[in-house]
């Protein structure tokens, strides 16, 4: 199995204070990875570096056999899509217009949207169940709708990799599940590589097939969710005591924290 991403001794700090202190790992095509860890551990920073949004790191990051720094932003955006925690538009774009922005790296038209752009947009909106809000103003949508529209925009980029930074943090329980159901389907049916930063360990355990825990800029543990989620590991990662149980539906483990 060849690595899609390969990190070798990645180090980074926004100031002189180091945030990431020597990270090395590989992520293969088709993986569904959850990145967990306490606040300030460097999860989002790592995700943004891998997305090509933060430069000036030390060490080596390779994507698809080429150093990340050698990719230009447009070529990278055709392969990697990024979904942030929350999106706010300064101007009243409609949901469809937002999704169409995902077609930008393909530069199919200067003044008009090409038929291909429109087709991809329609498909991405069907996939994320957002066709019903197509003509509505983005900022007036509910949190769940907004996040699915942004996901549709990311899918319109036709990426191989989807990087998500706490994508369900503002969503209610139903919409959290709905959102991850879509990700699971994309991963299974299209082979989309998914890396998601999340604080919801149980949600991550239910959907991801690999879990990487990070604390103070170093990897603590990396493995299948049921291997990572042990009381000892949870103490090492979050400094909490937690009980770990089997899910009644047989889909891995879940935890109950108790100090």
């Amino acid at each position: 199995m060849t690595a899609l991403f390969s990190l070798n001794d990645l180090r980074f700090g926004y100031t002189s204070v180091p945030v990431l202190q020597g990270l090395s790992t590989e992520i293969a095509a088709g993986e569904f990875v959850a990145l967990i860890g306490p606040n300030g551990a460097g999860k989002s920073t790592l995700l943004k570096i891998v997305a090509g949004l933060i430069r000036g790191y030390r060490g080596h990051v390779e994507f698809s056999g080429k150093a990340l720094t050698q990719w230009n932003s447009r070529d990278l955006a055709r392969r990697i899509a990024f979904v942030p925690q929350e999106t706010h538009m300064a101007f009243p774009f409609t949901a469809t217009e937002i999704v169409l922005m995902g077609r930008l790296p393909h530069r199919t038209g200067v003044l008009t949207d090409s038929p291909r752009d429109v087709e991809w947009t329609r498909e991405a909106m069907a996939l994320t169940d957002t066709a019903s809000v197509a003509t509505k103003i983005f900022n007036q949508l509910s949190g769940g709708e907004r996040q699915r529209v942004v996901l549709a925009s990311a899918l319109a980029q036709n990426p191989d990799v989807l990087l998500l930074d706490e994508p369900t943090v503002y969503l209610d329980l139903k919409h959290q599940l709905q959102f991850y159901d879509i990700l699971e389907r994309l991963n299974a049916e299209r082979g989309l590589t998914i890396v998601s930063v999340t604080h919801d360990v149980n949600l991550a355990a239910r959907y991801a097939r690999r879990m990487i825990a990070i604390r103070s800029g170093t990897f603590v543990v990396d493995g299948r969710p049921n291997e990572v989620l042990t009381p000892q590991h949870l103490y090492d990662i979050f400094e909490i005591r937690a009980a770990v149980f089997e899910r009644p539906d047989g889909r891995g483990t879940y935890i109950i924290p108790s100090h």
Partner: protein, 329 residues
């Protein structure tokens, strides 16, 4: 964006603009007949070709340039309240003009008033100053950009106030008059000099207009859509600033056009920059020509400053639009 929608919206705005440009020179305090004008009978011919036509065309360029600059500043600063003067260009330009007036440099060289030359120099200096102050480590964060612009605005206004205070009555009047804005300063040569630059800028902007859309969600969001954020921002900053500086050097600061026209077009057509840039140019152009026509005819033979009209006409119209389409701003 379909080709039909683009063609209809931009086409309609262009036709309105053209109609206004064609009709406006015939309107004025002194009646002219098209027979006399075309036959070259004086004074009709001179009134039309020397007094009115350059002024109308210049007003069209100024209005279009300011509206376009307004769209760009609002886009790159992600701020609906930004206008062409937010980052200090007009303050720098006015300071340049004040200095020339104070030093008594009211001559005209090669058809260009010295006041306009120093005003343009002041604008250029401000543009570079803001750019270098705002740039930190190769980046140009929006926050420092706004802060640098606003701070320079204050500093320049302080210097202008000092010069104004030190100046004599006649100079002081000229300075006050400058800050009100006027469009009678241009002749055909100014128009011919400014037009190619403005048209080339507009075409360049159409090429990058689509990339400005994801800026509305932030620079990171735009970057993850493959936009070279730093380059696009720098290009837009300089085009918008130089457009503003070039026209205000001759017209003085004319407010409201650069704020109200982009908003109006956004309320009517939506925020897509592929439509917003060209339609704002044409409508801004038509709007300022109409305002200037009103300014020179309403109390004829006395003229009133065109900035008074832009605010008095534009303000209530804009408020009405806001009331009707609330929440879509």
């Amino acid at each position: 964006m379909t080709a039909a929608r683009f063609a209809v919206a931009v086409g309609l705005c262009a036709i309105v603009c053209l109609l206004v440009l064609v009709l406006a020179p015939w309107i004025g305090s002194t009646g002219v007949t098209w027979r006399n004008v075309l036959a070259g009978v004086r004074p009709d011919r001179d009134i039309f070709f020397v007094a009115r036509l350059p002024r109308v065309l210049f007003a069209g360029l100024v209005g279009g340039a300011l509206a376009t600059a307004g769209v760009l500043f609002q886009a790159i600063l992600r701020n609906p309240l930004a206008d062409p003067f937010t980052l200090g260009v007009s303050a720098g330009s006015s300071l340049g003009a004040f200095i020339a007036i104070w030093l008594g440099l009211e001559t005209v060289v090669l058809g260009i008033p010295i006041v306009s030359v120093t005003a343009f120099a002041g604008a250029l200096l401000t543009i570079l100053l803001v750019f270098f102050i705002a740039r930190t480590g190769g980046e140009m964060p929006t926050f420092t950009l706004i802060l640098a612009g606003v701070t320079l605005n204050f500093v320049f206004f302080a210097v202008m106030m000092f010069i104004h205070y030190a100046a004599d009555f006649n100079e002081s009047y000229l300075m006050t008059r400058w800050t009100m804005g006027a469009l009678d300063t241009a002749d055909m040569r100014t128009v011919a000099g400014a037009a190619p630059f403005i048209i080339v800028s507009l075409l360049a902007l159409m090429w990058i207009a689509r990339q400005l859309n994801p800026f509305a969600a932030g620079e990171e969001w735009a970057a993850s859509r493959g936009v070279d954020v730093r380059r696009l921002k720098t290009i837009c900053y300089f085009i918008a600033s130089i457009l503003t500086g070039a026209v205000t050097a001759f017209s003085g600061p004319i407010g409201f056009v650069g704020l109200i026209v982009p908003h109006t077009m956004r309320l009517v057509l939506g925020p897509d920059h592929r439509l917003l840039i060209p339609t704002s140019f044409f409508v801004g152009s038509a709007f300022l020509v109409m305002c200037d026509t009103a300014a020179r005819t309403m109390f004829a033979p006395t003229e009133i400053p065109v900035g008074v009209i832009t605010a008095l006409l534009g303000g209530p119209f804009f408020i009405g639009l806001l009331k009707r389409k609330r929440g879509n701003l």
